[in-house]
C-alpha cells in the first residue's frame, strides 16, 4: 500500500507556522574523524584514571593503613564514569548535534531513574528513626526452603548456603586442607586476606527466626518499666548489623540497646 509520491514540495514549510520541520537540517551532521579519535583517546585515558584511582585507594588502605571513607571509592568511580558517559552521549551518540528533543528525552529518563533511586533509598534507608529495631535486617530472617544447589531433589538446608557449603567442604577435606585451599584460592590480587577458619566458629546463620527471639528470657535488667513482676520482653533485637557475621554468632546473647 506504499505508494511513491513526489518529494515534499517546499510549500510545506510555509504551511507549517510552528516549525515542525525546523530542525531536520541538523540531523545529518557528520562528525569529523579527528573528533572521534580524540574522544576515543580521552575515554581510554579516563579508563586508565579510574583503574589507577581504585588501585591507589587500595594501596592507601592496605599498605599505608589509612582507612578511607567508604564513599570515596564510589564518588571517584562514579564521577569518572559520568564524564565518560557524557562524552559518549555527546559525541558518539551525537546528542550534541542532533535535535535537542533527544537530549530532553534522555534527561527525563535520568530524572525518572534519580527519583526511583532517591525515594527507594529514602524509605529503605530510614527505617529506624523511631524504633531502632526496625532498621535492622533480621540476622537470619527468612522463609527457609533454600536447597543446597539447583537440583530439585537437593536437600533443603535451613542455613545460609555459604555456611552449608563451608561446613560440607570442611567435613569433606578436613580443616587443615580447607585452610590450605582457602589460602591458595584467595590469591594476592583478590584483596582480602584469608583468615584461617577454626572449626568452632562455623554456624553463624540460620534462616528461620532470629536466635534469641524466643529462647533468651534475659534477666529483668533493663525492663524496670514492666507494670508487673514478670520477666522482661523476649524481644531480643539482633543488635549487631547483619552484614558482619563475626559479630553475630548464633548463640543468643542478651540484646542490649
Amino acid at each position: 500500500m506504499s505508494t511513491p509520491h513526489a518529494a515534499a514540495p517546499e510549500v510545506f514549510d510555509e504551511l507549517d507556522p510552528h516549525g515542525m520541520g525546523a530542525y531536520t537540517k541538523h540531523s545529518h551532521h557528520i562528525v569529523s574523524g579527528m573528533t572521534l579519535k580524540s574522544i576515543l583517546i580521552i575515554l581510554l585515558a579516563f579508563t586508565a584514571i579510574t583503574v589507577g584511582a581504585a588501585q591507589a585507594e587500595k594501596f592507601i588502605e592496605t599498605s599505608l593503613h589509612i582507612e578511607l571513607p567508604r564513599w570515596v571509592n564510589v564518588i571517584v568511580a562514579m564521577s569518572i564514569a559520568t564524564v565518560k558517559a557524557s562524552l559518549v552521549l555527546m559525541f558518539f551518540m551525537l546528542l550534541r548535534y542532533s535535535n535537542p528533543i533527544n537530549t530532553v528525552v534522555f534527561l527525563f529518563c535520568l530524572l525518572a531513574f534519580a527519583l526511583f533511586l532517591f525515594f527507594t533509598l529514602l524509605d529503605l534507608g530510614t527505617r529506624g528513626m523511631i524504633n531502632p529495631i526496625k532498621a535492622h535486617q533480621v540476622e537470619a530472617g527468612g522463609i527457609g526452603g533454600i536447597r543446597a544447589g539447583w537440583r530439585a531433589d537437593a536437600p533443603i538446608i535451613n542455613q545460609a548456603p555459604v555456611v552449608f557449603w563451608r561446613e560440607r567442604k570442611i567435613a569433606e577435606v578436613g580443616i587443615d586442607e580447607y585452610n590450605r585451599m582457602k589460602s591458595i584460592l584467595s590469591h594476592p590480587h583478590e584483596g582480602h586476606g584469608a583468615p584461617a577458619v577454626s572449626s568452632g566458629n562455623m554456624s553463624i546463620n540460620r534462616p528461620g527466626i532470629t536466635p534469641g527471639l524466643f529462647s533468651a528470657v534475659a534477666p529483668a535488667a533493663h525492663d524496670e518499666h514492666a507494670p508487673h513482676g514478670a520477666s522482661p520482653a523476649p524481644h531480643g533485637a539482633p543488635d549487631a548489623p547483619a552484614h558482619s557475621p563475626a559479630a553475630a554468632p548464633a548463640s543468643a546473647e542478651p540484646a542490649k540497646h
Binding site: 506504499s2 505508494t3 511513491p4 515534499a8 520541520g21 531536520t24 540531523s27 545529518h28 557528520i30 562528525v31 574523524g33 572521534l36 579519535k37 576515543l40 581510554l44 579508563t47 579510574t50 583503574v51 581504585a54 587500595k58 562514579m78 564514569a81 565518560k84 559518549v88 559525541f91 558518539f92 535535535n99 528533543i101 533527544n102 528525552v105 534522555f106 527525563f108 529518563c109 531513574f113 526511583f116 533511586l117 527507594t120 533509598l121 535486617q137 544447589g149 545460609a160 548456603p161 555459604v162 557449603w165 563451608r166 560440607r168 567442604k169 570442611i170 585451599m181 582457602k182 584460592l185 590469591h187 590480587h189 584483596g191 582480602h192 583468615p195 546463620n205 547483619a242 552484614h243 558482619s244
Partner: protein, 266 residues
C-alpha cells in the same frame, strides 16, 4: 525493528532496479512528507527506546545500590573475586568498538561503503571479543572451576589443579567453582553469609548486559549484510545503521557504569 528501515523488499528492488545502490532509491513511508522527517522521527523513537533500556537497567542499579548499602562487606568480598584486569580489557574493547561504530556511521554518511563495512565488521569482532572474554575468563571459571589453559590466573592455582580436559586445554581447579547466584551458590570459601546476593546482582547485571551485546551484534550483522549486498546506507539514508550505532553506544554506556561498580570496589 522493521520501522527502522526501508519498506521495500531490497532483493526485489535490486533485481529490478539495476545498479543504483539502495540508499539512493530509498523512499520514506507513505505517511511521511520527507525522508528527513522520517529520519528525525526514527531517531526520536529510538531515543525513547533507549530511555526504556536505561530504565530497565535502572532496576538493576537500584537493586545494586540497596544491596550494597545493606551488605557492603559481601559486596567488597564478592568483588575481590573479580579480576579488574579483565574488566579493564573489556572496557577498552567496548570503547574501541564504540569508536569503530561511530566511525562506520561517518563512513556511510560520506558514502565510503567498503570503509564503513570494514568498521562495522570490526565492531562486530570487538563485540565478540567482549563476549569471549566474559564467558571464557570470567563466567566459566567462576561457575565451574574450569580454566582455559592460557588463562594467566591459572598460575596462582597450579597446586589445586585436579583435572584436565580436551588434551590439557582446560584445567579444573578444585574448590574454585560454585560462585553462582543465589541458591546455585556452592563456593566453600566465602566469608560473608550474603555473598550469594552479590553473585545474583553480578550475574543479573552482566548477564542482561551481555544479552544486549548479543542483540547489538545481531543488529550490526544485519546492517553489514544489507550494506554488503544492497549498499543500503549512504549519505541520504542511513537510519538503521545510525540507530544500531545508538544501541551499541548504549551498551557501552551501561558498561561504563557497570565496570567500576562491579570491579573496582573494595
Amino acid at each position: 525493528m522493521t520501522t527502522l528501515d526501508t519498506r521495500s523488499n531490497p532483493l526485489g528492488a535490486d533485481v529490478q532496479g539495476g545498479t543504483e545502490p539502495l540508499w539512493k532509491r530509498y523512499l520514506p513511508g507513505h505517511h511521511w512528507r520527507t525522508a528527513d522527517e522520517e529520519f528525525d522521527a526514527c531517531t526520536l523513537g529510538f531515543w525513547l527506546f533507549l530511555a526504556t533500556e536505561v530504565l530497565l537497567f535502572a532496576g538493576l542499579f537500584c537493586g545494586y545500590t540497596i544491596m550494597r548499602f545493606k551488605f557492603p562487606q559481601a559486596f567488597a568480598n564478592g568483588s575481590s573475586y573479580l579480576d579488574w584486569r579483565w574488566g579493564t580489557l573489556n572496557t577498552v574493547v567496548l570503547l574501541l568498538s564504540s569508536y569503530t561504530m561511530a566511525a562506520s556511521i561517518r563512513a556511510f554518511q560520506m558514502d565510503r561503503q567498503s570503509h564503513g563495512r570494514r568498521l562495522l565488521a570490526a565492531t562486530f569482532v570487538f563485540g565478540l571479543c567482549f563476549l569471549l572474554i566474559k564467558f571464557t575468563f570470567e563466567y566459566t571459571p567462576k561457575l565451574s572451576g574450569w580454566f582455559i589453559a592460557f588463562d594467566p590466573a591459572l598460575s596462582h592455582y597450579t597446586e589445586l589443579v585436579d583435572n584436565k580436559a580436551l588434551g590439557g586445554l582446560f584445567h579444573h581447579v578444585a574448590g574454585y567453582g560454585g560462585k553462582a547466584p543465589g541458591q546455585f551458590f556452592s563456593y566453600a570459601f566465602s566469608e560473608d553469609p550474603w555473598e550469594p546476593l552479590w553473585w545474583s546482582i553480578y550475574y543479573c547485571a552482566t548477564g542482561i548486559h551481555a544479552l544486549h551485546v548479543i542483540i547489538g551484534m545481531t543488529l550490526i550483522a544485519w546492517c553489514f549484510r544489507r550494506a554488503l549486498f544492497f549498499k543500503a546506507y549512504g549519505p541520504s539514508h542511513y537510519t538503521m545503521v545510525e540507530n544500531t550505532g545508538l544501541y551499541w553506544h548504549l551498551v557501552d554506556l551501561i558498561w561504563i557504569f557497570l565496570f567500576p561498580l562491579l570491579y573496582l570496589i573494595h
